[in-house]
């Protein structure tokens, strides 16, 4: 295989990149931005070597403890459980949560063979017993995310730890007309 074909194939493994975009990317880099090509190669290598997981919350971190876990000024009574570092980053961007996190790095999916051990439930339960008063289950509102939240809520309840779920509802800024029906139905049920 030529280096060009190998490059196109490698670019196709990026999420959302098909044959056509991969080809366009490869040609663009080769013709207009050889510096970006070397920069990306270097950034990929460095990220692969430097980025591990936080020992406490399992999010991506270049240090033993991530920035959030290492911050003593957070509210230690709150622990928010998310599926991925990307979800955690989204929550952090809202700047409206001041507790700590636990990142599952997945969600329960029996069909794919992903069980409680794979998402670190034992570690989560141990972490929740360190003075946490409320675990906010912020897994996705998908079938698997809901099932994961349910299992975690039961396990936490058995240990006397209260858990809550993010509110379902109409996205801020949306016109009701364009919101899908099940979201509206949930927003009705969860009305304040």
């Amino acid at each position: 295989m030529s280096s060009l074909d190998a490059l196109i194939d490698a670019l196709k493994r990026l999420p959302g990149v098909g044959q056509k975009s991969a080809q366009r990317m490869a040609f663009h880099l080769l013709q207009h931005d050889r510096a970006a090509m070397q920069g990306l190669a270097q950034a990929l290598r460095a990220a692969g070597e430097d980025i591990k997981h936080c020992q406490r919350c399992h999010t991506f971190s270049e240090t033993e403890l991530c920035r959030v876990c290492a911050d003593p000024d957070r509210d230690a009574r709150l622990l928010c459980v998310v599926e991925s570092p990307a979800d955690q980053a989204a929550l952090e961007r809202t700047a409206s949560y001041r507790g700590y996190y636990f990142v599952l790095l997945g969600r329960l999916s029996p069909l794919d063979g992903i069980g409680t051990r794979d998402i670190g439930v034992t570690e989560l339960l141990a972490r929740a017993l360190e003075g946490v008063e409320e675990v906010i289950l912020a897994t996705s509102f998908t079938a698997e995310g809901e099932a994961t939240a349910h299992v975690l809520a039961e396990a936490l309840r058995a240990r006397g730890i209260r858990s809550t779920r993010l509110a379902r509802g109409v996205p801020v800024g949306s016109e009701l007309e364009y919101v899908d029906l099940s979201t509206i139905a949930h927003a009705l049920v969860d009305r304040r």
Copy 2:
């Protein structure tokens, strides 16, 4: 800057990739496909080192002469001028052209300071004098592509070499109703 931020920045230099997709790509690679990460780093490096330009037609090539230029069974009377290796690849995929190519690696753009020297006009004229009977100007049907074709046609005519332009017209498979007006107008003028 952290290795994660550096990776997101590097991914943003890919065409069509903004902050959000770059972040999604980085998180996906880190969480699900570390092998793809190393593979892409390797492919970028190899491509940067291996892929040069064909000495004859200027397209990307890992050898002195590209596969097309090295093929003695092509029709040496035909030379097709394109703006980029991507355009050449598109023409090759049609499997309906059997001549050789000359790749400008750009198009005339006085405002951006891209002149005849930058797109290799001297080399093209020399190449066209090597037994070529018809130069097909397949530059884009944009203002700059048209201007480039015009300048090349004049220079070729002055040397007694015939040039043609790809036909403008209605894309195959399109309903007239949805084709833009200037395309229909050109298709009328160029009607066969």
